[in-house]
Amino acid sequence: MDSGAGESSAADDYESLMSTTDAELLKSAWRNEKAAPEILNYAADLVQRSRQQIQLMEEMVEDYINDGVDPLTVSLYQIDLDRTMFLLRSYLRTRLQKIEKYVFHIQKTAEEWNRLSKQEQKFASRFAGDIKHHLDQSVLSRLPDQYQSHLRQSAASEEDDMVPEPQLDSYVVCRSKKYLGAYQLDDGGQELINIEADDLYALPYKSIKPLVESGQVDLV
């Protein structure tokens, strides 16, 4: 947004205020989680706060209904509440689906394992058990001895070569909140790119991963 210098500061203030509300934070956490190929850090505090706010809003809406407040007002609050609920649920769901997809990979990389919430870790362990049991029962137990691992193709493999891993070099579309200057892409190339505020870039996830993690860049 390139507005005139005078009025932009007020607009910027408003923007920055808006972008730090929990609703916005939840939205961007949700978007990042949806777009990132790997699982991100669990936004524990944010989820906690959002759930408290949801509860407050539920109580408020109920009070309004009982007090006979204008139905239109109530329904607006209700919509807002529903949307927040959707964001929260979808956020948690997206994470679960990622855990399901990469469970064996997440289990063996401590760094990714620690990104899960306690409940998610429990879920992941149980889930891994379920799928392993299923694979064992359907395929592995019926194969020759040296071929029964669910992580390796055969006993001759030196490392786990059958674990689905997130594709970190896949491209993502991202937007920076502010001007970041020349940024070195993490692919050994000499190329520097200028990351401008509010411009859209399609970059390999791997190279902007630190920016996503520090919250400087949002995925879209």
């Binding site: 329904s75 529903d82 769901r93 399901e100 799928i131 359907s138 395929v139 194969l143």
Partner: protein, 224 residues
């Protein structure tokens, strides 16, 4: 040709539209497993022969070093060595072909089961812990068990969080939607009212209330 059946299996899975599922192909699946056993039967004697050849080669080398022999004998033993080496090579390649075929078959079988499990899970999001009869028929015993286990795992996660995750699958537009009831559901306490959900009734419900009935096919949303 080795590996053809396994690839058929995978192709069969890939040929259905995304998110749909075929009957578990027990026949073909068992045939591929049999093929794996066949490969092992070939593989084992080959491995043994490779071992024998290697031992023999070692012996030859040792005897060559130990006794300084005449040139005549030297060339004879050299010829024998080449012979053994050739046999060794052909057995090694034979073993490799069987090993790789086995690995490939394994990967195809795993992919088949794994991808099906993915579809089954995605169905789990749409229906609440009970699969309709038509789908049940298409699953293998292990898959049915897996679905139940997975549903239980998910349930326990949601219970711990005290948050229902299987509703709200699409972003909400309006808190209320118009639905037609397709089945006699009876008197139900919804989140904001007690409603008599009789067949053919058209009503205005909270979307979160209606969603579970819609996914189970007991209601339809009326749009427009």
């Amino acid at each position: 040709m080795y590996g053809r059946k396994a690839s058929e299996l995978v192709k069969e899975f890939a040929s259905v539209e995304h998110g749909q599922i075929f009957t578990f192909n027990n026949d073909l699946f068992a045939q591929v497993l049999e093929e794996c056993d066949g490969h092992l039967l070939h593989l084992q004697p080959l491995m043994r022969k490779i071992q024998e050849h290697e031992d023999k080669l070692k012996d030859k080398n040792r005897s060559q070093e130990e006794i300084g022999t005449s040139e005549d004998e030297m060339s004879k033993s050299q010829a024998e060595k080449t012979l053994i080496q050739n046999a060794l090579k052909s057995d090694q390649f034979g073993a490799l072909v069987h090993h790789l075929s086995l690995v490939r078959n394994k990967r195809c079988l795993m992919a088949y089961v794994y991808k099906r499990a993915e579809v089954i899970r995605s169905l789990g999001w749409m229906v609440d812990s009970v699969l309709p009869e038509e789908i049940q028929e298409k699953l293998s015993t292990s898959e049915k068990e897996y679905f139940k286990n997975h549903a239980a795992t998910l349930q326990s996660y949601m219970a711990e969080l005290d948050l229902h995750l299987t509703v709200d699958m699409i972003p909400p537009k309006d808190p209320y939607i118009k639905v037609r009831v397709l089945d006699d559901i009876g008197e139900i306490a919804l989140s904001d009212q007690v409603a008599n959900l009789a067949r053919h009734a058209i009503m205005f419900l909270r979307r979160t209330d209606a969603e579970q009935y819609i996914t189970q096919g007991q209601m339809e949303e009326l749009t427009g």
